[in-house]
């Protein structure tokens, strides 16, 4: 679904010109035919995921200044630099180890939906807590772009966030934005495009936290997991979840759901029209 057709219609020089980006973005709304790439929007609650989603797709998914507003996933489309993208706005989560339905929807999609790019929208004023989720996402997938949002709030609180150092440390692109006022979205689009098209190789930061012995056990189990589900992109992560006794992963493992990758349909999609029309209040 994603290897072939990035149709580059733009002259090489124009691509890097900031003035060109806005013109390149075509908001497709709910038109999501023949997409080339799938992009997931993850992040802690109330960091502005839906605002980024609306800005990119031209949809008007109801946004609210409170955590937990998006409880199902919303989908929309956009076209940028000749490629068509399907965007999936996920419910906000603090972690991927947790148990509520909204967090499960987010985790399942990143895990089984295999998005080409996962954007983690991060609140610049609460970086430490937001990084908890970022680090967990980086364990699952390496195609990640960090959208360092609410930079205006950070400034208002007198905080300076060094996005370059963060990008170096995390090994993935970090783009500072103020999504509410459309600032930084050009650079975000460019990063999404670069990662999706494979122009930019990420080197995600992985936590080294286990003893040699435990690492041996994990990699041994990972091999066995891979033997059962050869297409799994992150057997190590699944192995750790199994060792941790994660009931949902064990269940998915038993039923063979882990093998049916990218066919993820949750019931949340059916309920979505009620929410996207915005009477979610």
């Amino acid at each position: 679904m994603n290897e072939h057709k990035p149709i580059e219609t733009i002259q090489p020089g124009c691509e890097s010109c900031p003035a060109h980006h806005a013109a390149n973005l075509l908001k497709l709304g709910v038109d999501m035919q023949d997409w080339d790439y799938v992009v997931a929007l993850a992040g802690n609650p109330n960091t502005g995921k839906s605002t980024v989603f609306n800005a990119l797709t031209g949809l008007r998914q109801h946004t609210g200044n409170w955590p937990g507003k998006t409880v199902a996933r919303a989908e929309g489309g956009m076209e940028y630099a000749g490629s068509r993208y399907k965007l999936v706005d996920l419910p906000g989560t603090y972690s991927l180890l947790s148990t509520s339905v909204d967090e499960e929807i987010a985790r399942d999609f990143i895990l089984f939906g295999q998005p080409d790019v996962t954007i983690v929208v991060v609140d610049a004023t609460r970086l430490e807590r937001n990084l908890n989720l970022v680090l967990q996402v980086l364990e699952i997938t390496d195609r990640v772009v960090i959208c360092l949002n609410l930079m205006d709030e950070a400034k208002r609180h007198g905080l300076t966030v060094d996005d370059r150092r963060l990008a170096r440390d995390l090994g993935v692109p970090v783009v500072p934005t103020v999504a509410r006022y459309g600032k930084g979205l050009d650079a975000l689009l460019q990063s999404i495009h670069d990662v999706a098209a494979g122009k930019l190789r990420t080197k995600p930061y992985r936590i080294q936290q286990f003893s040699k012995e435990l690492e041996g056990t994990i990699s041994d189990l990972s091999k066995k997991v891979r033997a059962v589900f050869p297409n799994l992109p992150n057997p190590r992560w699944v192995a750790i979840r199994l060792l941790d006794g994660d009931e949902r992963i064990i269940e998915a493992f038993e039923k063979g759901d882990l093998g049916e990758l990218s066919q993820n349909t949750t019931e949340s999609v059916e309920l979505q029209p009620q929410l996207s029309r915005g009477h979610a209040k």
């Binding site: 200044n65 409880v71 905080l159 189990l221 038993e254 309920l271 009620q274 009477h279 209040k281």
Partner: protein
Amino acid sequence: MNEQKRPNAEQVLAHARDLRWKISSNLHERLLEGIYTEASRLAERAVSRPDSPPRFDLDRAIDRLVTSRIWGFPIMLLLFTLIFWITISGANIPSGWIAHLLLDKLHPLLKGLAANSILPVWLQGLLVDGMYLSTAWVVSVMLPPMAIFFPLFTLLEDFGYLPRVAFNLDQIFKRTGAHGRQALSMMMGFGCNAAGVIATRIIDSPRERLIAIITNNFALCNGRWPTQILLATLFVGTLVPAQLAGLISALTVVGVALLGILLTFLVNWFLSRTWLKGEVSTFSLELPPYRPPRILQTIYTSVIDRTIFVLWRAVVFALPAGALIWLSANIHIGDLSVAEHLINILNPIGLFLGLNGVILVAYIVAIPANEIVIPTILMLTVLLTGMNSVGSGAGVMFQLESNQATLGVLQAGGWTLLTAVNMMLFSLIHNPCSTTLFTIFKETGSKKWTVLSALLPLTLGFIVTFLVAHVWRLIAAIS
């Protein structure tokens, strides 16, 4: 292919289970610890804080005020009363304009057109007097209050006030044996209960989520605000001098909404001690930063997303309901029409509850959407009282130039202050609309809980209206 792999998967799982016993038991803690330590280290490297603490933190200052023990609740009441006061006093005039346009001007025009067409007379009546008029009524009564209420409410939301309300309430929710996040799903319910039920997904314990789903109905929804606003204006506002009418009506609506919150607590408490016993979960509720509301954008989205959406839903349900009512008023069995038979059957029960047969029929008609309760009641009342001067025949929705005319119709139908009060109570406490029930069924996957969600508030509604009616009559008899 799964058939071949499944035994293999089981072996791997069994192996993993064995390993879990062998490795140290604190894997989960070590995982979390690793994540927290690294997140903290990386954040430390990237963020530089100002050397001196900020001179004055506006957010903290506002928070201290709106979530304070003393001022939190009064400010909440003040803000909501203000919103309803603006809604009630602002909606009257545009309501009149729209009614004038749709009912006085457009209706005769359509009637004339129909009369000259080849359509049979009964179909003319069904289309123009039944379907068109009921729709026009819904639009003129509901559009103005919604066009004022929703943008105001959305501005409050965009500013970041709602999580503070939830913050003020979450301790009480916990004390009633429910999850503090239910405060948030309840806030969603104030717009639409179906959305509120979906919003309970943020509650991770199934027990507390069920409680939140069952009690969401006690949050007054879009379909019921207009009923409350209209009745408060007509029956309560007119009890006081004209200058105070708007304020008193607004306070009445706030009072009903507060009663809904109180009932939520009571039913929470009841459920968590009977069918849904269990531990209360802990959670952290985050207070987002205040943001200057984007006024134009908020007005745009609240008009498009909420006002038009709700109005559309009302119209969609009003069209067939209008047709149904017109038919029931014009098809006769013996001397009386179908509608009259139905009303006569339900009237004793209605009066026993301090309501009347018309109201009960209206609530049966309005199971798909609470929005059409008031239009149905008015039309049936006119039919029953034979007030032909207001309408133009059986089952015809009529011109209501002013609230005074509406009041006149209801009083002719035998309405007293008690009827209005009980009607407002019953509007708050009865079964959820069919959309919400369907959503409950989809979210819980259980017929049992869906039926309970319908019957529990309905029973409670009967009990409350019965008690109010009898105490009221007792007091009236004594004095």
